[in-house]
């Protein structure tokens, strides 16, 4: 059952070990491929578990880890993210630092942490997994020691993260105090039976808990770290942060709220609806003024957290044909967003490699010098906008559909207005790439084979999810059904 995790641990250890044994750089060049192999094995094992194996109905390891199709769905996401990020960082890291083995090793561990967060069925396990994810993320953000921005980003990320973790831990302790247990299902049972004198504790505990989870998904007001961390981190890590920890945050949010606090749904729906609206609006409005593409994508990623939250609050587990269920929306949105946003970052990486710049103005004339690159970026930007034919549209269709289905009209309308605002800054990039003539000689972007593979995969998946969504919807439905059962 834990075979994927085993492969990940082994992969990381082998990378660390080989780095010590292999002395010459030529051999060390193979390390990322070793890491990729570990991730691929983990992905294969996960897919096997998902489609072929009988899954345990109860959490394993003393109730710590739930190996259900919900967790496995996020394992697929985690290993895909890890693999794509490694592929896109090969050349990038080669030029920036001589110490690369730890980078790949830590990245695998971060992916491992995501799988554990998604599977965590006990508050202790969740806390440890989130900490593991956070600490590896801090290190990876500050990985370029010579680069002051990278260091600053890591410090900022760490300080905010430590605060958020502390608040979350406090919230968990309140839950323990109220119920005497840390197991999610036991908490639900205990709260269901608890007398009124204890139930008032749930709301403050929930708020503290949301601080920690909100930090991971970069929801307002726990988002302040993200623009700086995104800008300063090595770009492949920015790509990772924008999808990996976010997916983990949503996984744990969904699982905790649905398994431990289903009875308190009005409470968290109210809080999260407000957070959702503020998150989308603030993220989009601030993104409008950004000139650095990494910062722009950071704010856009905040805004997307807001859209995804719509799906979570429009919770409706009654899965019959023809219904939009919000939780399905969360998962399908995350899947589409994963490929789209990673793809966009791959273009940013390739561009940064060629020109050294991340300014949106410098993308002027890209359509002339590198038409293929500009065209793929166009697809990603339209997917982020939510234009049909791309995965982003399916995600938006689901979350807005779910909101209307449960008659959260205000939420749907705020979301729709926001997607128009967002179109403006995504189109701004299109405008520079396609409409503005380049200033002087912008070099043609030559991308490495690894980047080409990553781009091909992300573009293809963005379009496939957009045009033929059914298999992905079924995958997601399976994952969610497990949770509700």
């Amino acid at each position: 059952m834990l075979l994927p995790q085993l492969f990940l641990v082994l992969g990381a250890l082998v990378v660390f070990g080989l780095d010590l044994i292999w002395r010459d750089d030529a051999r060390k060049g193979w390390l990322p491929y070793v890491a990729l192999l570990g991730l691929a094995l983990a992905l294969g094992a996960t897919l096997y578990l998902l489609f072929a194996a009988d899954l345990p109905s109860k959490p394993i390891l003393g109730g710590m880890l739930a190996v259900d199709s919900f967790a496995l769905f996020f394992q697929v996401i985690a290993t895909l993210v890890g693999g794509l990020v490694i592929l896109s960082s090969l050349d990038y890291m080669l030029r920036r630092t001589p110490y690369r083995a730890e980078f790949y090793g830590l990245l695998i561990i971060a992916c491992l942490a995501i799988t554990l967060v998604a599977a965590g069925a006990d508050l202790i396990m969740i806390y440890i997994a989130i900490e593991l994810l956070s600490i590896t993320s801090y290190i990876l953000t500050g990985y370029l020691r010579e680069d002051r921005k990278s260091t600053e980003a890591a410090i900022k990320y760490f300080l905010y993260g430590a605060m958020a973790s502390a608040a979350m831990l406090y919230g968990m302790s309140l839950f323990y105090g109220a119920t005497g247990t840390t197991s999610l299902s036991a908490i639900a049972a205990s709260l269901g039976a608890a007398e009124a004198s204890l139930r008032w504790l749930v709301f403050p505990a929930l708020i503290f808990l949301l601080a920690g989870f909100g930090f991971k998904i970069a929801a307002v007001p726990f988002h302040q770290w993200s623009p700086d961390a995104y800008e300063g981190a090595p770009t492949p890590i920015t790509a990772f942060l924008s999808v990996g920890p976010k997916a983990a945050g949503f996984a744990v949010l969904v699982r905790v709220l649905l398994t431990a606090l289903p009875d308190f749904r009005p409470d968290w729906v109210a809080v999260l609806s407000a957070i959702s609206m503020v998150t989308m609006t603030l993220g989009n409005l601030v993104a409008l003024t950004q000139r650095n593409i990494k910062r722009m994508l950071a704010y856009s990623s905040i805004a997307h957290a807001g859209y995804i939250l719509i799906g979570l609050v429009s919770w409706d587990l009654w899965q019959s044909a023809g219904r939009f269920t919000g939780i399905n929306g969360v998962l399908i949105y995350l899947l589409a967003y994963l490929f789209t946003n990673l793809g966009a970052f791959v273009v940013v990486i390739a561009f940064e490699q060629a020109t050294g710049s991340n300014q949106i103005e410098d993308y002027a004339g890209l359509a002339r010098t590198s038409p293929a690159m500009a065209a793929t970026m166009l697809i990603f930007l339209f997917s982020l906008t939510g234009i049909p034919g791309t995965g982003g549209f399916i995600g938006k269709l689901f979350v807005f559909g779910a909101a209307i289905q449960v008659q959260f009209y205000v939420l749907a309308i705020v979301g729709i207005i926001n997607s128009v605002i967002a179109a403006f800054y995504y189109l701004n990039v299109v405008r520079y790439m396609f409409f503005e003539p380049g200033a002087g000689e912008t070099p043609a972007i030559t991308s490495t084979p690894a980047l080409k593979v990553t781009l091909a995969v992300t573009t293809a998946m963005t379009l496939i999810i957009g045009l033929y969504a059914q298999p992905f919807i079924q995958l997601v439905q399976g994952a969610v059904r497990m949770l509700s059962g």
Partner: protein, 514 residues
């Protein structure tokens, strides 16, 4: 299984686009010829469809239905009736002519240009043949992207501003429409346009029905465009490349009007008639579009902008006819007379969609032709061209007269039907709207004919305004582009039945269902 003729029409351009993508950039002539050849596939098939629908235009023909996203009840549904068939033909005809004309005028980034244009063609066909809301919406938005890029890359001076304005305006409308679509879905449980219409969503709940109505209204009225949502249009048209304007005016505006007649009227007859008669917002906006659009035309000095505003005015007739059709449900009077008049108004509106596409498409080609020579569209720079370019003068006269509704040409019948139908149902608005015809005659005769063609040709003024541009008459390929359009104007002018028979049967069926 029958031959999936509508799928072939819709996706032939997509195949063409993929082929264009595979041809090396340097082979520009191959790309041009291939695109033209590909565009003949839908054109020929459109005639086949036309001939088949002719027998029974009130029903859906060539229906194709496959499950697409079963979880959400989203289907791949296509079908055409007497209302959509002329639109398919119009799209195919204008696309082929645009490809042909562009092959002589577009020299920059030929590959991308044809790729986008073919995608655009697919989007337009898709909207006209879709019978499923999500399917419809997908094509609706997919068509938006190539047009945005066509304006932004190949457009004129202020192309960037115009492109973004076009995109954002349309996007606002389409997201409002998406919410309305979802609302209708949860009410009726189907994304099928026909089934939803039969189910009459929100029939008992006026506020919600009105909300959904306005959602669709915003989406379609921005596209039409109806006053006060029209401000993107002059910019978009003026800056777009010639064929972009032709398609924009000729087909894209009709997408909005088509949405009204295919979706809004059948789904929300009660709300539509309320806002057409009891609280007549729709006809008020229509007559404002007609009169205001025509008045603004009289004040223009840029020939292309003038024709852009004339579209606002002429699409106002469509809206007026539609609102008369809707209002006929609640007006008290002789039922038979009302039905006949409502059918006439709808026939006029849907005929106007076709004739305006042909005529204004032609006018934009003609503007492009003079601009290619003079590199200016300033009316003050012209004058006395009639003697220098008689062939061009002749074609422009025919097209202009068709536009102002001269009997014997296509524009006459659509305006006559609209006003005849409207006058019986909501006479006040017909009376105000008729003023638009007078103003139209004024700006066509005064602004276009007089300023461009009449008077003495002043060589010195021409040289100064155009930097010594060479003034030649129409070339063979410009004539080839214009002749089919002129032929259609004359044909429909003399024998409107060839198209009205289709429209009348379909519109009568529509009205009987309300």
């Amino acid at each position: 299984m029958n031959f999936p003729i509508l799928s072939v029409i819709t996706f032939a351009p997509l195949v063409g686009a993929v082929l264009v993508l595979l041809i090396p950039r340097k082979e520009e002539d191959v790309i041009r010829r291939l695109s033209i050849v590909i565009s003949f596939v839908p054109l020929i098939l459109a005639f086949v469809v036309y001939a088949n629908v002719w027998g029974n235009p009130g029903e859906m023909h060539f229906v194709e239905e496959y499950s697409w996203i079963p979880t959400l009840n989203v289907y791949y549904r296509m079908g055409v009736d007497g209302i959509s068939t002329p639109m398919v033909l119009l799209t195919a005809l204008l696309s082929t002519l645009s490809f042909f004309y562009s092959s002589f005028t577009i020299k920059d980034r030929v590959k991308e240009y044809y790729f986008l244009f073919l995608l655009l063609e697919m989007g337009m066909f898709g909207v006209f043949v879709s019978l499923d809301f999500i399917f419809f919406y997908v094509f609706w938005e997919i068509g938006l992207v190539p047009m945005y890029l066509l304006i932004g890359v190949w457009g004129g001076q202020r192309r960037i501003y115009a492109a973004i304005k076009f995109f954002l305006f349309t996007l606002v409308g389409s997201v409002a429409m998406l919410l309305a679509i979802l609302g209708v879905y949860f009410q009726t449980g189907t994304f099928s346009i026909l089934d939803a219409a039969a189910a009459r969503p929100f029939a008992g709940n006026f506020p919600l029905a009105a909300l959904a109505f306005w959602g669709f209204f915003l989406g379609f009225a921005i596209k039409v465009p109806s006053f006060p949502f029209h401000t993107w249009l002059p910019d978009g048209h003026t800056e777009a490349p010639t064929c972009g304007s032709v398609i924009l005016a000729g087909v894209l505006l009709k997408l909005g009007a088509y949405g009204f007649i295919r979706i809004v009227l059948p789904l929300f007859p009660q709300v539509f008639s309320w806002y057409s008669y009891n609280v007549p917002i729709v006809p008020i906006l229509a007559v404002i579009s007609i009169v205001y659009g025509a008045l603004v035309c009289m004040a223009q000095w840029d020939l292309k902008r003038l024709i852009a505003y004339s579209s606002v005015s002429h699409m106002g007739y469509v809206m007026l006819g539609l609102s008369a059709g809707a209002a006929s449900r609640v007006v008290s009077g002789d039922p038979q007379g009302l039905l006949t008049s409502a059918a006439l108004a709808l026939n006029g509106a849907s005929l106007q969609m076709f004739t305006h596409g042909i005529i204004t498409g032609g006018l934009f080609f003609l503007v492009g032709i003079i601009y290619e020579r003079a590199h200016t569209r300033d009316l003050k720079a012209f004058g006395g061209l009639g003697a220098k370019v008689p062939y061009y003068y002749g074609i422009m006269m025919v097209t202009g007269f068709a536009s102002l509704g001269l009997p014997g040409l296509a524009g006459f019948w659509s305006e006559l039907f609209v006003f005849r139908g409207t006058f019986y149902v909501i006479p006040l608005f017909a009376v105000i709207g008729v003023a638009g015809i007078v103003f139209t005659a004024a700006y066509i005769l005064w602004k276009i004919v007089q300023y461009v063609f009449l008077g003495e040709f002043d060589q010195a003024k021409w040289d100064e305004a155009t930097h010594h541009a060479k003034l030649t008459d129409m070339t063979w390929w410009e004539k080839v582009t214009m002749w089919p359009l002129v032929a259609v104007m004359v044909l429909v002018g003399f024998y409107p039945t060839i198209i009205v028979a289709l429209l009348n049967a379909a519109n009568t069926a529509l009205l009987k269902g309300l």
